[in-house]
């Protein structure tokens, strides 16, 4: 994944969970973000879909619990 795309994911997540983009490390998960509610989760999904012009399936939405899995799913959509 190009660094710019990875940076964009961190930026979107940081904005939704009100964090510094630097705080979002590879293993970053639900447990690390106090604001990661189920509603915020869907906001993050919508925000990523808008940012990359992609669409996740309901099944994928359930898998987006950590930064590295999110990165993998975005990459699969972008290059799949």
């Amino acid at each position: 994944m190009p660094p710019a795309a990875e940076h964009r994911i961190r930026e979107v997540m940081a904005q939704v969970f009100e964090l510094d983009p630097g705080a979002i490390h590879d293993g970053f998960s639900r447990a690390d973000a106090p604001l990661w509610s189920s509603l915020a989760h869907l906001q993050m999904v919508s925000a990523l879909e808008e940012a990359f012009g992609i669409r996740f399936t309901m099944k994928e939405v359930g898998e987006m619990e950590r930064f590295d899995s999110i990165r993998r799913l975005v990459a699969a959509r972008l290059h799949g």
Partner: protein, 638 residues
């Protein structure tokens, strides 16, 4: 002028500025540049969190009840309200608990305690009647009609229960008709197909609540059409989160809620002040000449300006005053209107004209003064960014609108403004400009008479007739308008809601009087109201207010004489009590009670003053130039 393309950093800065904005006007200015229709989900989240940090007292208390997930709506509402300088407090009802919330039986229901100003009810048919809606195609036409009546009666009984238990205005969302009806294009030939079902359901809903003082229909079907019905529901969010309305569509709904909230609170602005050159016509009259400016058929720009005029006339018919503030030679403008009779708006359509070479903020001040309006009642539209930004800076209370570069888009800009929204256009509203024109004639006459010093001669020459009667239910809309709009001649400035006024009408210890006036120049309509309340041996003047149009001719004395007569007519030893509560605007009535013969009982540090008038001291004061008629029919107003 343009925002940078990289809006990311920019929006963080806007969010910070919004969180730190000192007051409502600053907040409005900060958010003016943000295109809310293009706000992304992450931007919304950023902005709404920043607004949450702001805090402050809410202007509107909004409760949202639904049988689907509306949790994102408050975020959108915060952002849209903030852009209007407003703040909302939220109450989100439990999922599918709209009936229980209202009946107050759900666990820990705090709806009544929250005391909302506005309650939105949004129901999804697929959740309200799941089986019937899922199997709609196989229902008989008779069964479909029963379904329609069933939904309507559900809404009606909900509204009935809510109206009794809450003093809020209710906002009931109608139902977006389907983009893809079950029978496809054959749906319109089907006996009571899905489209016909939705059309009739919405039509019946509209008819049942039309004109109701406390129930409004939120036209979700129109909003959905404008937003794009295909996008109203996002399948994934529908199944994952029971979110029948997509996040983007909720933004549309929030924008509409601002309009309803403003209207319910009577916060509508009253006057649109327009520039002339390149605003009301194409070109510059001083350079192109009266024949050279573009307005009228046969020229694309001319036709756009023509339509803009028609939109302005429609606004005027709703009671919005139009005025002109333009840098021009008055003679050039007069000649233009003279030589171009095809221009729809005539000079007489403008309640005030400021044509000259002085700064526009000074012109706007004069317009406000001549119409007896506050600056916060004005909207100013100009095609020149230098003018709008100077006005915005000098007069932050005025809403400024920079018209887009192309007149093709002018009318749309007008329609997007929430400033002029009102819940209903009342019979007197269309005649507002005429009333102000009549007022100018009165003032002209007064100016002539001032030279001769004959004030009583002037007042007599007006031939004022006044009708005072008990307010009825029909009077509620106008009564509410008076209570929300009257700032200067208002002794206590109690801002009663429609529900509160309705309650006052029904209270045996209360009397609500309403005054209508006319004179030789025309009908002034309903201009005053008095609320009296019995408290033991006191007949207390709870509210006493009069439209500023009626000031300065002794009508208030005639109204107070009527109140004194009420005191004298009552048997026993009743006394009359009065109260003055000072505000920033009601200085003109500071000494009203003293002038009317009342004695000061108590003056508090806040300036609030209590007055008493004993029965033995109640004397009618002379205002013989006003003819008071008891029979309202005699005035021919009703």
């Amino acid at each position: 002028m343009d925002r940078p393309r990289d809006s990311k950093l920019d929006l963080r800065a806007v969010a910070e500025a919004a969180a730190a904005a000192a007051d409502a006007a600053a907040l409005r200015r900060t958010l003016a540049s943000v295109d809310l229709e293009k706000l992304s989900t992450s931007d919304l989240s950023l902005l709404s969190r920043a607004l949450e940090r702001r805090g402050g007292t809410p202007d509107v208390k909004l409760a949202c009840l639904a049988n689907f997930t509306l949790d994102l709506l408050p975020r959108w509402v915060d952002v849209h309200f903030a852009r209007e300088g407003l703040r909302a407090a939220h109450y989100l009802g439990g999922f599918d608990q709209h009936v229980q919330e209202v009946l107050g039986v759900s666990d820990g229901s705090g709806l009544a305690a929250f005391a909302p100003d506005l309650v939105l009810l949004a129901l999804s048919l697929r959740r309200l009647r799941p089986e019937a809606m899922a199997g709609f195609a196989s229902l008989s036409p008779a069964r479909r009609r029963e379904l329609r009546d069933d939904v309507l009666s559900h809404l009606e009984s909900w509204a009935e229960a809510a109206l009794v238990r809450l003093s809020s205005t209710l906002l009931i969302a109608n139902f977006p008709s389907p983009v893809r009806p079950a029978f496809g294009i054959a749906d319109l030939n089907e006996e009571y197909g899905e489209t016909e079902f939705h059309l009739e359901l919405n039509l019946e809903l509209l008819r049942r609540f039309k004109g109701h003082p406390r129930v409004q229909v939120l036209d979700a079907d129109r909003l959905a059409s404008a937003y794009g019905k295909e996008r109203v529901t996002d399948g994934k969010l529908l199944y994952l989160a029971k979110m029948d309305w997509s996040p983007g569509f909720l933004g549309c709904v929030a924008a509409e809620l601002v309009r309803h909230a403003r209207a319910a609170q009577g916060r509508a602005r009253k006057c649109l002040v327009l520039d002339l050159d390149n605003t009301l016509w194409g070109g510059v009259v001083g350079e192109d000449g009266p024949a050279g400016v573009r307005i009228g058929t046969g020229d694309p720009e001319g036709e756009a300006f023509l339509d803009f005029h028609h939109s302005l006339k429609a606004l005027q018919a709703q009671g919005v005053l139009l005025a002109v503030c333009s840098k021009n030679n008055p003679a050039d403008v007069a000649e233009l209107f003279d030589r171009r009779p095809e221009i729809p708006l005539r000079l007489s359509d403008f309640a005030a004209l400021e044509i000259g070479w002085g700064p526009k903020h000074e012109g706007l001040r004069r317009i406000a003064a001549s119409l007896n309006l506050g600056l916060d009642s004005l909207v100013f539209a100009d095609d020149n960014p230098a003018e709008t930004s100077l006005v915005a800076q000098m007069l932050p209370e005025v809403r400024t609108v920079l018209l887009p570069p192309d007149p093709a888009d002018f009318a749309a800009v007008l329609h997007r403004l929430a400033d002029f929204e009102r819940t209903a256009v009342l019979p007197g509203d269309a005649g507002k400009t005429r009333q102000y024109a009549e007022e100018r004639q009165r003032q002209d006459l007064r100016a002539v008479l001032a030279v001769t010093g004959d004030l009583s001669g002037y007042l007599a020459s007006l031939r004022t007739e006044l009708a005072i009667g008990r307010a009825r239910r029909d009077d509620l809309p106008r009564l509410h308008q008076l209570f929300t709009k009257t700032n200067q001649f208002n002794l206590t400035t109690a801002r009663y809601t429609p529900a509160a006024l309705e309650r006052l009408l029904g209270l045996p210890v209360c009397e609500v009087w309403i005054a209508r006036a006319r004179d030789r120049f025309g009908d002034m309509g309903t201009i005053g109201a008095v609320v009296l309340r019995r408290e033991g041996h006191l007949l207390l003047v709870d509210s006493f207010l009069m439209s500023c149009r009626a000031m300065g001719r002794g009508i208030e004395t005639a109204m107070m004489n009527h109140v004194k007569q009420r005191l004298l007519d009552e048997p026993g030893h009743l006394e009359l009590g009065g109260r003055f509560v000072p505000t920033a605007r009601n200085k003109p009535v500071e000494t009203f009670y003293e002038d009317q013969g009342f004695q000061v009982l108590d003056r508090r540090a806040s300036g609030e003053t209590l007055y008493l008038l004993r029965r033995g001291q109640a004397r009618r004061q002379d205002c013989g130039w006003i003819e008071v008629v008891q029979d309202e029919m005699a005035l021919g107003i009703r």
